[in-house]
């Protein structure tokens, strides 16, 4: 199986007044048509890794890598126009909070149609039809009605489904989901994940699932990468999460309160400086 995405020694850094901040420091992985989870706490570089692949690193950030290739296309050498053609069409990204990531002054339907028509020469009627099909595919019961609603008129779960519909309508090969369900209620979270799970499987996409929630990621993905201070500290099959060996991964697993486990006080993470080396 040839790799969909090949990342080797990716580094992302930001110059600031007080010196250069290295957000990502030498991350390497390959991705096939599988579900890969990237887990870490705030500041671990997980989101910047996703953004660098997507080409959404802020202007002043610097990206270096030995290799950053998507389907054989060198993303480091690609022009802005080439990146734009990929973005949304072949690589798509779902962001955390539909309240902020959808355009508030455009109806949901128009936003989906806009995505589609940016990337494919389709007519108005066909685009509408495909948008409605996509809304139905994310299990929105009344697609015709939701098509004409503005983002503020729908719930968080509905907004996130619309976001997934918008991202998948152009049929991407790689989907990057950055905390796609963290802003949602637990029960809604599971519904959205089930939809994402089914669509990714049906369409044979590659998925990068970025989250702070180690348990959620391991129940959803095939493989998990754990990041700390801009580096990968551990990589393991999701099913074998319980056998994690790195003290950081173990600490993360341990410090969550569990229903039925009477542990007072909770074990806390003892951060070792050598993890960040």
């Amino acid at each position: 199986m040839s790799a969909l995405l090949d990342v080797e020694d990716l580094r992302v850094s930001f110059p600031t007044r007080t010196g250069v901040v290295d957000a990502v420091r030498g991350v390497s992985f390959t991705l096939g048509r599988e579900r890969l989870g990237i887990v870490g706490e705030s500041g671990s570089g997980k989101s910047q890794t996703g953004r660098a692949i997507m080409g959404l690193t802020p202007e002043h950030g610097r990206i270096e890598a030995k290799k950053l290739a998507f389907n054989g296309i060198d993303l480091l050498k690609a022009s802005k126009a080439e990146r734009r053609a990929l973005r949304g069409k072949r690589i798509a990204m779902i962001l955390q909070d539909p309240k902020y990531s959808l355009n508030p002054v455009m109806t949901i339907g128009r936003q989906i149609v806009e995505t589609l028509r940016t990337h494919e020469p389709v007519g108005r009627a066909e685009a509408r039809g495909r948008a409605l099909d996509m809304l139905a595919a994310v299990q929105i019961r009344d697609p015709e009605r939701v098509f004409d609603l503005y983002p503020h008129e729908v719930s968080g779960g509905m907004g996130q489904r619309a976001m997934i519909a918008m991202m998948l309508v152009a049929g991407p090969e790689l989907l990057i989901a950055d905390e796609p369900t963290s802003a949602l209620d637990v029960t809604v979270q599971l519904e959205v994940l089930a939809i994402l799970h089914r669509l990714v499987a049906e369409r044979g996409m590659g998925l990068i699932f970025i989250s702070h929630d180690l348990r959620l990621v391991s129940s959803f993905c095939d493989r998990v990468i754990v990041m700390y201070a801009g580096r990968i500290v551990e990589e393991l099959p999701a099913a074998r999460l319980a056998e994690a060996t790195h003290p950081y991964t173990r600490g993360l697993l341990d410090c969550m309160p569990r229903i039925g486990a009477d542990r007072h006080p909770l074990p806390v993470l003892d951060r070792r400086p050598e993890w960040a080396l």
């Binding site: 209620d185 180690l214 229903i259 006080p265």
Partner: protein, 250 residues
Amino acid sequence: MTAPALAIDGLTVAFDDFVALKDVSLTVAPGESFGLVGESGSGKSTLLRAVAGLAPASDGTIAVNGKVLGERRDKAFYRQVQMVFQDPYGSLHPRQTVDRLLLEPLAIHGFGDAESRIVRALDEVGLGAGFRFRYSHQLSGGQRQRVAIARALILEPSILLLDEPTSALDASVQAEVLNLLEQVRAARGLTFAMVSHDLAVVTHMCDRLMVMQHGQAVEELAAADLAARRVSRDYTRSLLAASEGFRREA
């Protein structure tokens, strides 16, 4: 029998036509830790805010330490009841140093020995004296929440209202803050009323809890019963199932 620390009877909160909280009753004994769980819009935060006087009660009564509260809260009330909010980024004044933040409640309530109290409060929440003259933007999320807890404790209240105190924090920092809260509760015999969307956090922290949905109480039960899955309502069951994470369909 001593009066309950917090007794709420038939509390209703309405914002114009929208009823956010409908006929909710509960009692919390002194020294007890009580949890409120539910999804967004369930009214759990509104309940805490109504106790603190931040949301208008349109019906029902709230009594603290046996005393029924009126429409306005007096200073004596805020010496007994303090609140910690969810967002450590939004709940601290961005242009005040930690020292100034902690001085404010002391000045309002006319405490004399501010100097020693501030030092002690910072020490109690595990922040050294080095943090005293910093601004909140120079602190991490966990450190900010510690400052917010110090600010609430500095008046030596008997009841702490905690509105999602750890949901904006990383898991490892959450564990530290939860431990800190348990530690101060044990040391001072505090009564907690804690709101969270996370069943695991609430069962960890509380003796008893109430599950809420659409502004109403669904079920009130002991944390031990929840842990043993002795629940009687379907909604509680679905919350329990959801907290166990995603399951792939076969």
